[in-house]
Assembly symmetry: C2
Homo-oligomer: 249 residues x 2
């Protein structure tokens, strides 16, 4: 039995979810509701003491960290719609992409998302409720991020993060202007992990639309559409519960 | 033919080097001399445009990023002294460890290393030579790090990085007080990637010795010794050229 503990189909939560859908595995999703801070609840911290989604329960064994879960699903179910190239060199290129998402791309997009999406929530709390909330957050760096969200991220930091998103979009474009997927060998975890973060960057009127658009990044735009139209990805978006928290984004 | 472009056996350079030695593969090392900034030279940036060691040339194909190279060597030579557990769940635990090194542990140790080891070099240059040097550094974040090294890292940042090294040492101790290696299944890339960063933390009189020592972290200390005494690792230290740059550390 495979159970994915997850937010809705976005950001890190989307990585293993899309992998499960693409592989066509039999699984269920236990939606963890961020609007209730369920990720910091006692019951969930018994599953992942770091209080972070996603987490995968496979026959009682817990696997954490989104990219690690994706690789785990490949290791555990290698023959079912493989999402890693068989060739070692190509597989290394895949890992350069997934590593880059985890160390660079996801962080700059996340800060902007927190600035616009989480700040209103952090600021809506009373001082007492906010401090009570922080007590439940196990990772010190996450506490700092919550305080930033409440007090406002420094403009210098926001400028730097926007610069990094721009660099990231251009890096994706450089490859996607030449080929349909991030690896020459075809669709892979490189696409899933990047799509999980890049989806929405092109939203008209959105935060990044002045540099992610048909004119500046046509390859990236076409790839976002191409990935969304894949049957498994379309099915995921049709079926998976979404958080209410971010519905107005 | 396997050629590793590398600094001496420390930090990220040590990860693939130790992997090559442990697997007993036939390879050569092309020492990249940081005291001459060879990593930023034109010839090396043809190999890795990011100007970073290590890089592996395998029959003309270049693989970069230290942890990716380690996994590549496992994928390319799976039957020769495997350093990844066969069990998918255990392999996922290995990747939680290697990912943690790359996203947390290596960065805090690196900042302290730059503060003590690179600062004197950055400060010894004339303004003109320093600006000329920065022109050759391709990664913007690395340029910032060089400027910090020259101007001095903010004390607040140093304090935070020391806190993180302390957290890291304790995390290693929590596991190594219970077992010989980081995975129950035995020696693996988890040990190699962590050892590459942790080696030297226990140096008497060193920067971290007040919290990495026989009394506070006996499991970690025993593991450092255990890894150093492995025949392949001992051979690596005996054979591999070291940078002069850091000889007084």
């Amino acid at each position: 039995m495979l159970t994915l503990y997850s937010f809705g189909p976005g950001a890190n939560s989307m990585k293993p979810m899309a992998t499960l859908y693409e592989k066509g595995l039999d699984f269920k999703i236990r939606f963890v509701d961020p609007s209730k801070f369920e990720q910091h609840s006692d019951w969930f911290k018994k599953i992942n003491p770091r209080g972070q989604v996603p987490a995968l329960d496979h026959d009682g064994k817990i696997v954490v960290e989104s990219t690690v879960i994706c690789e785990y699903l490949e290791d555990a179910f290698p023959d079912q719609n493989p999402l890693r190239p068989a060739d070692p060199y190509m597989r290394a290129q895949m890992r350069v992409w997934t590593k880059w998402v985890d160390e660079y791309f996801c962080w700059c997009v996340s800060t902007i998302g927190w600035h616009y999406g989480i700040r209103p929530i952090a600021q809506s709390m009373t001082d007492e409720a906010f401090e009570e909330h922080l007590k439940n957050v196990p990772i010190p760096e996450q506490k700092v991020k919550w305080r930033h969200a409440r007090n406002g991220f420094p403009q210098e930091l926001l400028d730097e993060e926007f610069r990094k998103v721009r660099v990231s979009a251009q890096r994706l474009e450089d490859t996607l202007s030449r080929q349909d997927y991030l690896l020459e060998s075809g669709f892979s975890l490189a696409d899933i992990c990047n799509f999980a973060i890049a989806n929405g960057l092109d939203r008209p009127g959105g935060w990044f639309n002045d540099f992610v658009n048909e004119k500046d990044t046509p390859g990236l735009i076409a790839w976002l559409k191409r990935v969304k139209e894949r049957p498994a990805i379309a099915k995921m978006f049709a079926e998976a519960k979404r958080e209410e928290l971010l519905k107005d984004r």
